[in-house]
Structure formats: structure tokens, C-alpha cells
């Protein structure tokens, strides 16, 4: 018998019992960027039973310095991250049932996506999506292992792992201005791996039944500063997300075309409501004579148009690269879609 996990089982807080619990775990990884890549690889090597990884984006050359699941060829092939991640994770450990899903996680689909999983690992790149995941995980009673990083600084907070602890919404009374930092400060891979390692360590502790003391923790690998704050006093009895009568405000879907400026990138994303989605094949046919560098594969249509690269995904989202201006992006897309 192949003893893949013997060194992990030898670690006494895990042991054979803990390994069996890891084996039984079904984990959802929210995002296949830097944190998602790093965390998913650790969990797959640890031998979880099932892992679902979801991401809305395709690979870029600027991802490779920190997103450890991907190769140059994946970028050349313009693969969606979720597809490239699934391929690599399967090659790492065939014991694990792995599923990559190309989708934007929204109020409309988040519950359906999380359902059937026991843990959610945060690999998203924005606070809005984290608050959405916070609401969904609380509604489904699934622990959510939050993590975030920019520059050389990272923070972690496990949610739903201890009685009476605050949730992310309790800690964030107001939303910060959109992507305050990621556009400007960059990121180095050591903080990605450090942050993901802390998230996964908390997750493994929780799986194996260790006592949890949920703390908000941060570290800056460049300055050497670190902090660990016991936030239990910040639990709000009136919190709309985790009180006795929660309303889960971030799960309310909107019916309009939603736009988002993607963190750290010159890119605007447009999302059409479910009943007004743009289909790949007809779209590709209709723009063939208008655009250049047209690529049409089973996952997406990509092209160049007026010096912008546009990518339409099968789930009906479109990325407009080369702009942060939402109205300009809408205008460019309107030029093709009428």
C-alpha cells in the first residue's frame, strides 16, 4: 500500500483519526488566484476527499510570479484559471475528487455553489465577495476561512469555528472604497504562501477537531510587524449577517447588468442577469468581421477591439481589458452588442 500521508499521520495532533477526517472533508476554494492556488495545492496534497475550485478569470502573464498552479503554456492557451487549476491539482494527487468551475460567484449562485461542502477557503480578491461568502457560509453553517493579502502584508480570520464569535460583517461596519490598495502596491509571493498557510492550518485544525480560538491575525513579511487580535468582543447582537434573525444582506441579487473593476488590473467585468445572457457561438460569428485575434474555445470567446481585449465567458460574463472606466467599458461592449 502506498503511504502518501504517513508523515502527516505521524504528526500527533492529526494522527490516523485526523487523516481520516481530512479524507472525509469536502472543501470549496473561492477563487483560483494567488491564495486559492496556494491553499488548494496544500489541501490536495493533504488528501482531502473533494475539492471544488471556482474562478471567473483567465490566466495572464502577470499572474505567474505568485499563482503557483500555473505554467507559461496555460497562459499561452488562454485557459480559465479554474480549468488550469483542476488539471494541475489532479496531477498532484489522484486521490482527491477535484472540480474546477468557471464562474463568477454572485448572490444568485453562491448558495448553490457552496452547498455540499463543509468548509470554504477564501481565495477571492475583494472585500465585497468576502462579505457575500460570509453571508452564504453563515446561512449554510459552513466555516469560512478568510484570508487576504497585498504587498508584503496579509491577514486571516476563521469565521464560524467557535460559539459566539463575530463574523466578517461584525468587524466591517462600513465597506472600504473599492480596491484601495491592490492597483497600486503590488504583491510578493511569500506573503501569498504565508497567508494561505495560515488559512489552511486553521482549516486542518478545525477538521481534526482541535480547539479553535478565532483571532484576527496579520503579518508583514517585509517590516516584520505582526498582530493577533482577540475580536470576540466585536460580536454584534444586531449584526444582519450573524444575529439571531439574520437577513444576509449580501445575498440579495440585483436584476441589472452589474459591473466590477477587477482588483489590481486594468479590467472591467460586465455581468448580465441570467435571463439576458450572451451566448458564445452566435457572439463569435457576429463579430468575426469586426474584431481581430478572435479566439473561440469551449470556455470563452476572446478578441481585440479598438485596442481593448474582450473576453466573453460561457456563463455570460465579459471582461474588458485596458480600462478601469466602467462607462467606457459599457460603451466598447455596446459597440459590439448593439
Amino acid at each position: 500500500m502506498i503511504k502518501k500521508y504517513s508523515r502527516q499521520e505521524l504528526f500527533s495532533p492529526i494522527g490516523l483519526t485526523g487523516q481520516q477526517r481530512i479524507r472525509d472533508a469536502k472543501v470549496f476554494v473561492l477563487g483560483a488566484g494567488a491564495l486559492g492556488s496556494s491553499g488548494a495545492e496544500m489541501l490536495v496534497r493533504a488528501g482531502v476527499g473533494e475539492l471544488t475550485i471556482v474562478d471567473r478569470d483567465i490566466l495572464e502573464w502577470t499572474n505567474l510570479h505568485r499563482q503557483q498552479l500555473y505554467s507559461e503554456q496555460d497562459v499561452v492557451d488562454q485557459l480559465p484559471k479554474a480549468i488550469a487549476a483542476e488539471k494541475r491539482l489532479r496531477a498532484i494527487n489522484s486521490d482527491v475528487k477535484i472540480r474546477g468551475i468557471v464562474a463568477d460567484v454572485t448572490p444568485e449562485n453562491v448558495l448553490e455553489l457552496f452547498e455540499g461542502h463543509q468548509f470554504v477557503l477564501d481565495g477571492t480578491d475583494n472585500i465585497e465577495t468576502r462579505l457575500l461568502a460570509n453571508d452564504a457560509a453563515l446561512q449554510l453553517h459552513i466555516p469560512f476561512f478568510m484570508g487576504a493579502c497585498v504587498g508584503s502584508y496579509g491577514l486571516t480570520f476563521p469565521i464560524g469555528v467557535a460559539e459566539g464569535q463575530p463574523c466578517l460583517h461584525c468587524l466591517l461596519e462600513v465597506l472600504p472604497p473599492q480596491s484601495l490598495t491592490c492597483d497600486t502596491v503590488g504583491v510578493i509571493s511569500p506573503i501569498v504562501v504565508t497567508t494561505a498557510a495560515r488559512q489552511v492550518a486553521e482549516l486542518l485544525k478545525h477538521i481534526t477537531g482541535a480547539e479553535m480560538q478565532p483571532r484576527l491575525e496579520s503579518v508583514d513579511l517585509w517590516s516584520g510587524e505582526r498582530a493577533a487580535i482577540d475580536v470576540h468582543s466585536m460580536k454584534k447582537s444586531s449584526c444582519p449577517s450573524c444575529s439571531e434573525k439574520p437577513t444576509y444582506p449580501f445575498l440579495s441579487a440585483s436584476e441589472v447588468v452589474r459591473t466590477a473593476v477587477l482588483c489590481g488590473r486594468d479590467t472591467v467585468q460586465l455581468t448580465w442577469p441570467k435571463n439576458r445572457q450572451v451566448e458564445l457561438a452566435p457572439f463569435a460569428d457576429s463579430i468575426r468581421g469586426t474584431v481581430t485575434n478572435l479566439v473561440h474555445n469551449p470556455y470563452l470567446v476572446s478578441c481585440e477591439y479598438h485596442d481593448h481585449r474582450l473576453v466573453l465567458f460561457r456563463d455570460g460574463r465579459m471582461l474588458v481589458h485596458g480600462t478601469k472606466d466602467v462607462s467606457q467599458a459599457r460603451k466598447i461592449v455596446a459597440g459590439l452588442l448593439g
Binding site: 487576504a148 491577514l155 510587524e225 475580536v231
Partner: protein, 68 residues
């Protein structure tokens, strides 16, 4: 008087102009961020950021970021 505090696990010399937590946050250019601030193991609510900084205070600051 020269004040030295423990800031996020490191010794930090506070300049004389910085007398309160709010002034420290502004000096660190964290004034407009979403923050959790702990002073001597107690979480400080925003309305108490005018608390004076004393020599050998232990202050921890965590700011929220978007990336990942």
C-alpha cells in the same frame, strides 16, 4: 518626554507631535483605512481613538485589504 511603544510586536519611537491613537493612525497613513485597533489588549472603538498614547503602550493595528 520620549515615548516608546510596542507597535505590532516591534519597538516604536513615537514622535512628540503624536499624542493620541488617531494621530498615530494618521502618522502611519492608515487614517482612511478600515481598521481594528487594540490598545493594551483592549479593542478600541473608533469614538475612543482620541485616547492618549502612553510610554510602553502595547498597540496592535490590523487593516483590511482587498487582494488575494
Amino acid at each position: 518626554m520620549e515615548k516608546t511603544i510596542d507597535l505590532n510586536g516591534k519597538s516604536y519611537a513615537v514622535i512628540p507631535e503624536v499624542e493620541t491613537v488617531q494621530q498615530l493612525l494618521e502618522h502611519l497613513e492608515l487614517g482612511d483605512r478600515i481598521l481594528i485597533v487594540e490598545k493594551n489588549k483592549e479593542i478600541l472603538q473608533k469614538e475612543h481613538y482620541d485616547a492618549p498614547i502612553m510610554d510602553r503602550d502595547q498597540i496592535e493595528i490590523i487593516h483590511f485589504v482587498g487582494g488575494g
